[in-house]
């Protein structure tokens, strides 16, 4: 018996967070009540505002508060390089660890007709219009290496060809700093097959 039904409700609601099960949810609930009520109130407020106000950028489809995201609005980005990624988290990863200064296009998924994920759902007609407008010189494809990611990459290459835009793909292989013995087999065989002269 938890001491109050509201506490039980809080423990249940916290489990909407990915990776948080019943035990962690209970620990979080008690901890917030005992030590950080102000932080929790602030979180509640920001959470609600974010869920209501964050929509999609009309230009690159990533998360944005207004019609356009900060990256598409920035005057410091090179609009001739367009990087296509599967989801907004990928944009954040690239922004945080590389010096890429082009712009993005976010698919919000990957092609999977069997699950109803069609080119239209991924906003590819919007991408085609953008390439047709001119200005983009290179389409950098950074989709994953799953079967659907590969199919999506193939489809994107066709779109680029139709628009006379160079399509490139980011490099896949042994992670930098990785030791060969710890790399999984399929990565290793891809790395061997994709070897280059140096």
């Amino acid at each position: 018996m938890l001491p109050t039904p509201l506490l039980a409700e809080l423990v249940k609601a916290l489990q909407c967070l990915p990776g948080i099960g019943p035990k962690s949810a209970q620990r979080i609930a008690f901890n917030l009540l005992e030590r950080n009520r102000d932080g929790a109130r602030r979180l509640a407020q920001v959470l609600e505002q974010a869920m209501d106000d964050i929509g999609q950028c009309e230009s690159c489809r990533t998360f944005a508060e207004n019609t356009r995201c900060q990256i598409c609005n920035s005057s410091n980005r090179d609009r001739s390089m367009l990087c296509v990624v599967e989801n907004p988290m990928d944009v954040a990863s690239i922004e945080q660890s590389t010096d890429f200064d082009g712009v993005y296009f976010v698919l919000m998924g990957r092609l999977s007709p069997i699950d109803g994920v069609t080119p239209e759902r991924l906003g590819l007609p919007l991408l085609e219009r953008r390439l047709a407008e001119g200005g983009v010189k290179e389409l950098i494809v950074a989709t994953g290496t799953t079967m659907e990611g590969e199919a999506t990459a193939h489809y994107l290459k066709q779109i680029a060809q139709r628009a006379n835009v160079t399509a490139t793909r980011i490099a896949y292989g042994v992670p930098v700093g990785g030791e060969l013995e710890y790399v999984d087999g399929s990565t290793l065989s891809h790395a061997i097959a994709s070897r280059r002269e140096y």
Copy 2:
């Protein structure tokens, strides 16, 4: 650059959750926005309500929405057994895994005069009045085995003696199902010192 300042704010606010650092907060924020906005809105609402409405039970000091918690209000509990624990999470643990059907007293800490945690801060005068009223036959002390926990247990024993109530302490030793070789040294030496005939 995160695509919107509100998203950056959400990532920061999520870090009030114990055990959630910047990386996990970012993953959680994107995941909620992409997949579970309704769950997140519900969480925001319950979180705010819980922080505002949950106070302390006037009888046992655990978390409660009203003046008394559900356990103190229940007519199915044996009021002659009073279990003293350090915090509300301990009550939840005992309720979830044992068939203890007495009532509780929650200290919300442990004696540590150096940090300003005095017997008054732990509600011990309230506990003394409760013992003086009669009805309690056994005071079960379930504080931790830290130095402060031991000092608190010692203080509680004195309170019980003054009120002519039996004080007992839960058993500490090798965890059930545990193998000796994996048990830490101080637990093991306590287990040997506290050996009993059987």
